[in-house]
Symmetry: C2
Subunit: 229 residues, 2 copies
DNA sequence: TAAGTGAAGATTGTCGACAGTAATCAATAA
DNA sequence: TTATTGATTACTGTCGACAATCTTCACTTA
């Protein structure tokens, strides 16, 4: 496993503090949809849920606010952030630039083993497509892009990229993602991996950027459809 | 003044909560060098300094940790983050990509008034250069790039860019920035603004990226010199 | 002298409590 | 019936206190 090893629960508890743990937990709640977009977050409720006082909860919420997953109104509480199409557009604008960089770097630095891992995920995605398992495809899609940014070998890049795409997830939770055409999406993935395997950094960068552009277009189409409903 | 209006103190106190205010204050302490890089931050000390309890301080520190300005060790405290040359390199890698995007967008979107503002700052920088006022030049340099990212008209881009460059400031605080050649730097600035005025987005993007690349090279030269001392 | 040990002090982690503010809802008046 | 007012309730903002942990440093011992 060439990727950064996932930390064990033990390591997590020992190194990270309670607020950090809570932060991860709340993030899962948001990204998992249990806390709906726009919803107010009740501190006391979370506190009793996690068997802590409100202190650690508040600390976690501050961190989540800094990462723009929640917004906070004074004396009113913190709310799960809602992303408008306009803001999603802004994010995509940045993402396109970063994806190009990611494609270039992965083409330059990825090990043969990592390329194989990417291909394996691609194959899984094909199977999910065949079964029309959208949920599975979506999870694999996230994994694929996460692996890419990891293989780019730049921690700061990965951090920026993940922060950005987390915002996009808030939007996707409304069910607008991928615009239905996910078989198309995987064709684009394959072209990218081909360029990576060929160590063609320019082409890989261009293709991954193009993939982001197409994703944005799919997002727009889905949003347009959703608005007509 | 076409830029985003600076919020008044009143607005700040009314809208933002105490932790948010404290966060800004601590950030100033760090970026101003009062809290040295690598130094441990004493919660009680800050609390008495700002006449609050430790709660708000801790919340602010969590937010600063999320923005990577401090790091936190369990049961040991939080420390002002130190940036290695390797990490500065990583940041520059991302910054180059973002700068290209910024150049393109500003060329497309900036108002004539904004272009004039940029030129005015450039003139100020020339005067600072003539007086060999490095500190003033440095401040204006930051302002120039901050205006650029603002004029790009993409809040998320601005956010990502500022987060990134804040990290670079931690490095710069060690006196390694600019590598001495700041007259050269302003020549590059002028070329960028020329492209912006000509509405040549491709050239503006290329030049601003190139400027970031040169900045990185200057950083490396300065670091090399610092290491021989 | 150097290494190890123990206590004392300082600092962080967490909690429960109280004050202040916003939201809710019933009662009243137009 | 609708709008307004006032009281009630719920929640956030902040604080001080205590427990747990780390650091420091004097002291002992080989």
């Amino acid at each position: 496993m060439a990727r950064a090893a996932a930390p064990t629960v033990l390591q997590l508890v020992q190194s990270n503090s309670l607020p950090a743990l809570v932060q991860i937990e709340i993030e899962q709640l948001i990204l998992g949809g249990e806390l709906a977009v726009g919803q107010r977050i009740n501190e006391s409720e979370l506190a009793s849920r996690f068997r802590t006082s409100r202190g650690p909860i508040r600390e976690a919420l501050r961190a989540l606010e800094e990462s723009r997953l929640v917004r906070s109104e004074k004396n009113r509480g913190v709310f799960v952030r809602e992303i408008s199409v306009t803001e999603a557009d802004e994010i995509y604008d940045v993402r396109e630039a970063l994806d190009q960089l990611i494609g270039q770097r992965v083409a330059e630095r990825a090990t043969p083993e990592q390329i194989r891992e990417l291909k394996a995920v691609l194959a899984e995605m094909d199977r999910a497509t065949a079964k029309q398992d959208i949920k599975c495809y979506h999870a694999l899609n996230l994994k694929f892009h996460d692996m890419l940014v990891e293989f780019a070998g730049n921690a700061r890049l990965a951090e920026s990229y993940r922060l950005l795409t987390k915002g996009l997830l808030l939007f996707r939770l409304r069910g607008l993602q991928d615009g239905g055409g996910f078989a198309v999406s995987n064709t684009e993935h394959k072209a990218v991996v081909d360029a990576l395997a060929a160590r063609d950094s320019t082409r890989a960068g261009r293709l991954l950027r193009q993939h982001a552009i197409e994703s944005r277009a799919r997002m727009h189409r889905a949003a347009a459809v959703a608005d007509t409903i």
